[in-house]
């Protein structure tokens, strides 16, 4: 840009000088025009690119683009308007200036001077013509042989450049030349042309001016005469070339030169105007383009700090707080950029702290979730509107619901969830009644012939920042604990009963036998029979009581398990073999799946299978028809082996199902009622579970679940 500016200034100065003084009209050469055009093209390209870029920025709504275009427009108008006015005035001024070079008086004076010079020269030429005529007369006195010498002497006398004597056919007869000797037969450069002969023919003499052949402004006078001694004699032409005096020639040449230069300038008058105006137009265009280019550059420079600041602001608005503006000390916007950087730094720090706090809260939340999810107690948090906010894994399992109740009202979440319905129905009055205090209650739920006991506690939650309050429910499944306490009580009772009853049985039996032994000989036949019968009854009842007491004892005992690696399927087959053909009407079907070997006490598990199969067979044998007992085993997931005993017998009475595994509960007429209680006890000793229900065939279904033990666990247990 600086070079373009210098170029423009130089061009303007040049035009000023050229128009001020015609002698300086060495107008810009073609290289200057080429330079003008090249500079113009470069500026045009630069401006076009700048405009396209500015419009593109405006369309893409880039920050500061509108401001830049406004500045560019303002600069353009402010620079173009004065340039146009000045250019218009300058163009008119140039025309006036160039016209001032030409003055009609000067032109006439020059023409007059030229004519004066011509006339002066012709006066001299006339004198030469008179001399030439004298020479011609002299020739008449000589014969042709004396012509060359005479002509030579006359040339020297008259200071002629050359003298030529030609005959009528323009053949050279004699000549004398200042540069050549007389014998030379070459045509002179200055051989008279056709015009000379034509005038000689008409007028008999010729007088004219000719520039000399040296090109140094010298001028000669050409004079010629026709000579004929008599009317019938030969006709000759004598012509001579006489140089003008050096001073005279110099003056004449000066006039010639001045007139020539003036005429040349006059010829160029319009062209000069045209050229200067064209040059000025080019300079004006260049100036406008230069102004535009400069306007674009400076607009961009002016708006750049603001654009950068706006870009930074947009970056901050879009979340990029690490944006830093470059601070130039020499820039007026430096304090602003520094303040911006300080602001973004503080914002960044604040956001970082907030993110760390959020992370901390999230960690605490995760921590709480993990704790809650690994609690065996069920936990549910509710809002004051009974909307479920959180429910842990244990609560899901205990209440047999999935997590989809979150953000639902308790009252609305119970649909299709019978267990949850019973739970909610029980606790809802407590929730409504104790919104600000703690409470606890037992929830008894009977589902699918099983009784569950949950101990539920409620406590109000503190108010959150959002103003929300609510209740936390914590509940535990007490079913197993109560059952265990129940079983323990039964064991204690059984053990005490066995101990208290068993002790007197032997003396009673011995006393009865002694009574029979002592009294039998002393009694009559009939009395003996009565005594024997009574004694037998006592002995038999004592035996029965012993059996019963032993059963109690067995139930109460908790002998250590002798675990071994057992294939459950083989154990089942062994037991089934014992009963396979006992009842011909009953078919035992085995559908045993592929199950792993687990650690079991084989004797006690055999007792379990015997008890269940025996119970089933006894129940089915009461009906005189074909029956089927299907025993199947399968692996449930990788954790449990499930064994099903399905018969098509009469099944278990609904009223007994809940208590079937309690001692002294039996549907049989005979029996201690401890069989299934012992079965349950053995299964639980193996960490398993047993349940009873109705089979698809309408009979009873016993389901055993035994945990799968890994090899390492098996080794550890064994």
């Amino acid at each position: 840009m600086a070079s373009v500016f210098i170029f423009l200034a130089a061009s303007l100065l040049f035009i000023y000088n050229s128009t001020s003084d015609p002698s300086n009209s060495a107008l810009p050469d073609s290289w200057m025009t080429a330079l003008y055009l090249t500079t113009m093209v470069v500026l045009l390209v630069f401006i076009a690119i700048s405009v396209i870029r500015a419009v593109h920025h405006l369309r893409s709504k880039r920050s500061g683009s509108r401001f830049t275009i406004r500045l560019m427009s303002a600069f353009t108008v402010l620079t173009a308007a004065p340039v146009l006015i000045v250019s218009y005035i300058s163009m008119d001024y140039i025309g006036t200036q160039i016209d001032a070079w030409f003055d009609i008086k000067i032109e006439r004076a020059l023409e007059d001077s030229l004519e004066l010079s011509e006339q002066s020269l012709k006066i001299g030429a006339r004198a030469h013509l008179r001399d030439l005529k004298k020479t011609a007369k002299g020739l008449f006195k000589l014969n042709e042989l004396g012509y060359p010498a005479y002509i030579n002497s006359r040339r020297l006398d008259s200071n002629a450049e050359e003298l030529l004597l030609l005959d009528a056919s323009r053949r050279l007869i004699a000549f004398s030349d200042a540069k050549r000797n007389a014998s030379s037969n070459l045509f002179s450069n200055n051989f008279p042309d056709e015009n000379v002969f034509r005038i000689l023919d008409s007028k008999g003499f010729y007088l004219g001016l000719e520039p000399d052949g040296k090109g140094k402004g010298g001028i000669n006078a050409r004079v010629a005469v026709t000579l004929q001694k008599t009317r019938w004699s030969k006709k000759y032409i004598l012509t001579g070339l006489f140089p003008s005096s050096h001073r005279f020639a110099s003056l004449a040449d000066s006039v010639e030169q001045a007139r020539g230069e003036y005429q040349e300038l006059k010829l160029k008058n319009n062209s000069l105007k045209y050229g200067f105006r064209l040059s000025l137009l080019l300079i004006m265009l260049l100036t406008i383009l230069f102004s535009l280019g400069a306007a674009f550059i400076y607009s961009k420079r002016l708006t750049q700090p603001i654009s950068v600041l706006l870009d930074g602001t947009e970056a901050v608005a879009s979340g990029d707080l690490q944006t830093k503006l470059t601070v130039h000390k020499s820039n007026d916007f430096a304090p602003l950029a520094r303040s911006f950087n300080t602001m973004t730094s503080r914002l960044f720090d604040a956001r970082k702290e907030r993110e760390e706090s959020q992370l901390q809260v999230q960690r605490q939340h995760d921590y709480l979730n993990i704790v809650l999810d690994h609690l065996t107690s069920g936990v549910i948090t509710l809002t004051s509107d009974h909307i479920v906010r959180r429910i842990n894994v244990a609560a899901n399992d205990l209440l047999k619901i999935d997590g989809k109740v979150i953000n639902q009202r308790l009252e609305l979440a119970i649909d299709g969830r019978p267990f949850f319905t019973d739970f909610v129905t029980t606790i809802l009055p407590f929730l409504n009644a104790n919104k600000k205090g703690e409470w606890r209650t037992e929830v008894v739920i009977v589902q699918k012939n099983r009784r569950y006991l949950l101990l539920c506690r409620g406590a109000p939650l503190p108010h959150l920042l959002s103003g929300e309050s609510g209740t936390v429910l914590v509940f535990d499944d007490m079913t197993e604990i109560v059952q265990a306490e129940h079983d323990a009580a039964w064991s204690e009772v059984a053990m005490r009963l066995a101990h208290e009853i068993k002790n007197p049985l032997t003396p009673i039996q011995l006393s009865a036998e002694r009574l029979q032994y002592r009294l039998l000989p002393e009694l009559s036949e009939s009395s003996q029979q009565l005594l024997k019968r009574m004694t037998q009854t006592i002995t038999q009842q004592v035996e029965n009581m012993k059996t019963m007491v032993n059963a109690f004892s067995d139930y109460a005992k908790t002998p250590a398990l002798h675990l071994q690696k057992i294939d459950v399927n083989n154990l089942i087959k062994d037991v089934v073999d014992l009963y396979q053909d006992i009842e011909k009407e009953i078919e035992i079907v085995l559908l045993l799946g592929n199950v792993p070997v687990i650690a079991l006490d084989s004797l006690r598990m055999r007792q379990v299978f015997v008890n269940i199969i025996k119970n089933s067979l006894e129940a089915m044998s009461k009906q005189n028809k074909k029956h089927q007992l299907v025993i199947s085993s399968e692996l449930s997931g990788h954790n449990n082996i499930i064994i099903y005993f399905n018969d098509d017998g009469p099944g278990v009475d609904e009223s007994l199902i809940q208590h079937i595994f309690d001692p002294y509960i039996s549907s049989k007429e005979r029996g201690s009622g401890l069989g299934l209680a012992i079965v349950k006890k053995i299964i639980e000793e193996h960490s398993g579970q047993i349940s009873v229900g109705r089979s698809q065939a309408g009979g009873a279904q016993f389901t055993l679940s035994l945990p799968v033990t890994s090899d390492s666990q098996v080794k550890e247990l064994i």
């Binding site: 009209s25 056709e194 001016l209 052949g213 090109g215 007139r259 005429q263 160029k268 045209y274």
Partner: protein, 191 residues
Amino acid sequence: MLLNKLLLITLSLSLMQFFSLAWADDEIVIQKLKVTEDAQHVYQVDVQIDYNLNENMKKALTHGVKVKLNFAVTLGRYRTWWWNSTRTLTKLSYQIEYHALSKRYILVRMHDDKPVKRWNFNNLSMLLRQVGTISRYSLPHMSAAVRDGSHFLYFQVTATAETLRIPLRIQTYLKGGKYYQESEGVVWPLG
């Protein structure tokens, strides 16, 4: 209707003829050209040129502007795959001046932009006739290779108002050669 059409056609043809003639009057034309080879294998040129200078050139002359005439001979070689190669062989330069004091036209033979010889003529047409006749002009020696059939000589004549400075040149560029004239080129095959 038919008469109108015929009239229009006649008028158009007349105008075309007039403009073609008018245009031809302002042209520099190489009328005759002959290239001969002497016993020393030197090429000699005989040429007749009609220097029909336009009015602007003539006016420039009488206003003190010198007009430069150039008769350029170029040696070229045909190339089928690229533009023909050319080399300026020789240039015959003259300068015409008007001497207002004597009202005569001066013809100056130029060599390397320096005057070599001067003649003066009573009128321009005589001068142009004289300068337009070139007889037995010997071209510089050329190797025998130029006679292989692929070489040619190219002749062209130009007339330029010599002292023109930039404004007139700009006019020349913009207004179509008022102060510059050139003839059609003539090709003379060699070999």
